[in-house]
């Protein structure tokens, strides 16, 4: 099982940048209207303040995607990060067991 890392300030900044990029792109491509961007940002900001660890982050992104599908790519990317972390942990455990 992948480690449930704490949600650090730098991690928060990274996610803010990712989500802001996604909103900007969605606006620039005419995918969403400004009101949607406002609603999404108003949902994101307070939620991000409450997140403590990676599990909560992924759950939040899932919730975000269920509300606004244009965030799906961010959620999927983070899930991939999660999966990679899990595989790495398992591999290192296997390696430790063999030794």
């Amino acid at each position: 099982m992948a480690l449930n890392l704490p949600f650090s300030a730098s991690e928060k900044k990274r996610i803010e940048d990712l989500l802001a990029d996604r909103i900007i792109l969605a606006l620039q491509q005419g995918e969403i209207l400004e009101e949607v961007a406002i609603d999404a940002a108003s949902f994101i900001r307070p939620q991000l303040e409450t997140i403590q660890d990676r599990n909560q982050l992924v759950a939040f992104l899932q919730e975000l995607t269920s509300r606004w599908s244009f965030f799906a790519s961010v959620y999927q990317d983070e899930k991939k990060v999660e999966l990679i972390g899990k595989i790495e942990t398992e591999l290192s455990q296997m390696s430790a067991n063999q030794r």
């Binding site: 940048d17 802001a20 620039q28 940002a41």
Partner: protein, 684 residues
Amino acid sequence: MAGPSSPDQRPISGADMLVHGRTKEIGTVTVAAGVEDPTAKAIQRGNELAAIKAERGGGEVLAGLESQKRRSFDLSRQTALRTRFGAGRAEVGDGGKIVLNKDGLGVDAASVESNSKSAERVIGQVSSVLNYTEVILEAQKTGKTPEAVMKDKKIKKPEWSDLRSSALNAIIDTDAIRSLMPDLDQLSDKAEQLKFIENALAKDPAFHSKIAEKMIAAEARTREFTSAASDGELDVHQETSKASKEAMAASARDAVDKMVTAGLSIPDADAQAQAIQKMLETGTNPDQITAQILAAVRSQQMAARPDMAIVENFYVAKAKYDALLPRMKGIKSLPATAQTRLQDEFDKADAALTTTETQFTSLADPVASEQALVALNGLLSAKSENGIYNSPIAQDLAGGVAARKRLTESEQAYKKKAASGREKESDARAQRLAEESDVITDMESILSESIGEVLSDRLQEMRSLDVLRRQKDEQALEETGKKDEAEALKKLGTAVESNWSKLDMKDRKRTIDRAQIGADVRILAYKGQEGLRNLIRRDLVKGGQFSLDGALVDVNTMTPEQTEKMEALIDSVLQQEGQNYARRLFADFIEARQLGNSRSKDIELTGTLKNLGLKDHEWDLLAKNFEGMITPHSQSSGGAELMAQLQKEGIDIKGKGGSFLLSLLFMLLGTVGVASAAAFKKTP
């Protein structure tokens, strides 16, 4: 994209920009007959946010968008908030008025009232601005009259004109506006001031939202107030006391009912019950109360029935006589003195018996009288083997006695708790009042802070858009082979971003150099356009090098030809960038003035406020030299639209020779659109 293609189409107006509190790409978004193209608007907004993201990061983008979310703090919340002040003693009375219950507050009453009044005043003031902006925004959005909107929103008082006037005056009286325009009163008449503030600030939804947001935050803090209500335990004791007294009253009534049923002489049953209740309540020793009550009732009955007293006296005398008789049989064996004393005692008993027997036998119905006395004794005086009254009346009184014991314990506990509770309550109230004062003090600056934040947001946005515009201009110059011009523009941009106000990207802290701002503004005042060129030249030759023909040249070792070329290039930059440069300096000047001596952790102020204070003649010089320059860009903008709106309402900013500061504020409030227009006009 081309500009308006027909009279039915118009660019997004400056008023629209102010409505949305954000800049719009002028010339790229066209609308037909006043209807915006939301998709084009979204695309444009995306471009603007990309610029903000590039300079300040994703967090700022999200925060900026969130700030656009329309917050509200309606009438019911305004009323509820008022009740949070006054140490929990404020309630909503008839007609929504706040009623303060000062019972039992003692010396705290004055402080509680004072806090309540202060809260009422400040909430009233902020609420008037909130309600006014709510109405004007809704009226603007729906096309309804303000009066109609007020009716919809059930804002009954005051009348629209009074609401507008009080709200705008409250805004004008804020520290933020006063520090920006200390001589506002001299600059224009009151009606103009109100119109100016209304168009330039109050119609911005961001202003309303910021106020509402701060009121919501204040409201949240009031939920954390220390409770100053009575200690719950005291309430329990008061309840116990009340219940005990009720139990004693019931017990007394039951006993009296039984007495009446038993045929005792009770002329007034209620008075009898009250008398017994009083004895239950006031008797000093609960264990003796039953005996005292029974004795009192017996005494009352004996007084009412002399025949029973005669019967009793006879039996008492007989009992005494009978008790002495055995002793009299052995009297001869007693010493002489003892014989005399016993004989006297016996003679008295004999005499008493004779007397009482005569009285007894003289009774009309001695048997009936005796039976009545026996009945009375049975009813009142019967005792158990261990000496406790167990007569029916005593049993009725037992409930009252137990209640009296509970009352005694309750009162003792109440007194003890009341003393510590009162002390505790007083301490809690002092704490509560201090907390209330803190929130009231903070609420007093809500309007000022909101104005400051709106201006700062616009400034920040202007800065971001300026960066983007310069980048595009530089790119365009490079593409056309004008590398030296592009390099000069880049160097000037770096100077503009750090001369007067510099953002440290590491800790997000902005340093504002008041001394430099004041010095440079004075150069513009005294030297006009020449001063502007001097400042631009200073920034372009900073470091002693200048880019010529694609190479850096030392300005001190330039050939005359090179110097000539450099000066020509500086003239070119002045021509292209001078207005933006001056506008930016003035904007930083306004922000620095508006910040006053702010102690925000995100801002470091160097120099002093005095650096920013200009003398009257310096204002005159600035007005003379730059009045035309601050005229909004001709290519439509927030500023142009704002100016048009003001002119429509009879206010000619340009005509106000002495109102340069007002003009500067106007420029700041409306200039964002200019930057935006310039930034995006080259967008393919």
